[in-house]
Symmetry: C2
Subunit: 214 residues, 2 copies
Amino acid sequence: MVTAHHAPGETRPGGRTARTRQAVLAAVFEELGDGGYAALSMERIAQRSGIHLATLYRRWRCIEGMVCELLADLSADVLLPDTGSLPGDLRALSHAIGAFYGDARRRSLIEAVVSAAARDPEAEAVLREFFDARLTLAGRMVVRAVERGELPADTDPKEVMSALGAPFYYRILIARRPVDAALAESAATAVWAAARAGAYARPDGAPAKGAGEG
Amino acid sequence: MVTAHHAPGETRPGGRTARTRQAVLAAVFEELGDGGYAALSMERIAQRSGIHLATLYRRWRCIEGMVCELLADLSADVLLPDTGSLPGDLRALSHAIGAFYGDARRRSLIEAVVSAAARDPEAEAVLREFFDARLTLAGRMVVRAVERGELPADTDPKEVMSALGAPFYYRILIARRPVDAALAESAATAVWAAARAGAYARPDGAPAKGAGEG
DNA sequence: GGATTAACGCGAACTTGCTCGCGTTAACCA
DNA sequence: TGGTTAACGCGAGCAAGTTCGCGTTAATCC
């Protein structure tokens, strides 16, 4: 019996594997820059990244998987603002989102992910869970505001954060125009006014809960 | 010279052509019902409609064209409410939108159209113009409200209507959950509060204009 | 360093989606 | 009613995109 060096069947995350991963995701991102999702093809990604076509299919199966992974990668380093007041937090986050989607490649990425989710159940699950986690996280901002007495106790944090994001995705996916600071400002102002008016109150009037809703 | 019966090169919109068109669009809509956009393929549409594959490609070139045409078809008969007050109009329209997207096939159709727009420039133009026209039309509701003095004079009608629609498309495309009456109610309440707070004021403070913005 | 084996490169084979040419059907008009 | 021809049905042919088998490279551990 050959004492296995590192449990045969295990993956090798380091070195070359990580390099190809980076090369491919970078290539996808750049490809989104010229031509958007329309011009995205396995062949072009292979050429741009210098990674062989067969390798791409082996690791990601299809483009859907790539764009999902890229989204998670790019969104990793986004911090929650904490200015001390909800309107301040909303403005800060809204402008952060606006700046993020100011880049056409990121807008194309969102298009790509939504398209992927529409066709591939696996991609759909990734997308859903990704945004759910993000809403839960950002919802803390609202929880703090409720604790400070800025909003009604029955305000649903996730609904508030959905409402903050919605105008951006409408702009990108439906109106199909660039995202600018004016949109960010409008979104923050609108959500703050709507939340104070009780538009995001839970139907059953349950009090706002913390992040862990397990 | 043969006196042309109906200008050679002309199309023949009646009879068989109209029938196949109806059969195909109906088949697309039904296909969206079982399996959504993922299961949509030219071959399946051909089988379900009983129209030959080559005919589909000749008339629509690709699936993108079909879903765009279907969207225009389905949305043709949507009326603007006129209850006498903006909050009333907003609630009515919001619930109409909610009812429209209560059907999973229509949600799948929107996914399909957005996916189509992401890949095909022609489909993108169709989508953009379609929603732009719709916003302009619905904006009349806001123009009336401004004239009644319910909203500031510098309110941008299209921005208000965008804000009303945004939560639905966020729910469908990003959150990927069904649309319900609670969402419709929330959207209407939110937009009304936000509009009164001046969230949709034009940056330059120009007064609200009519539908024709030339 | 040396042995083991994931991960990769390469090209051929395969599958799928799409197009083309031709004969047939049925709108449209006189 | 009959002539003209757009629109359709049909199957073969073409061009993508995708998979497979095998040899090579380079992580990983001893």
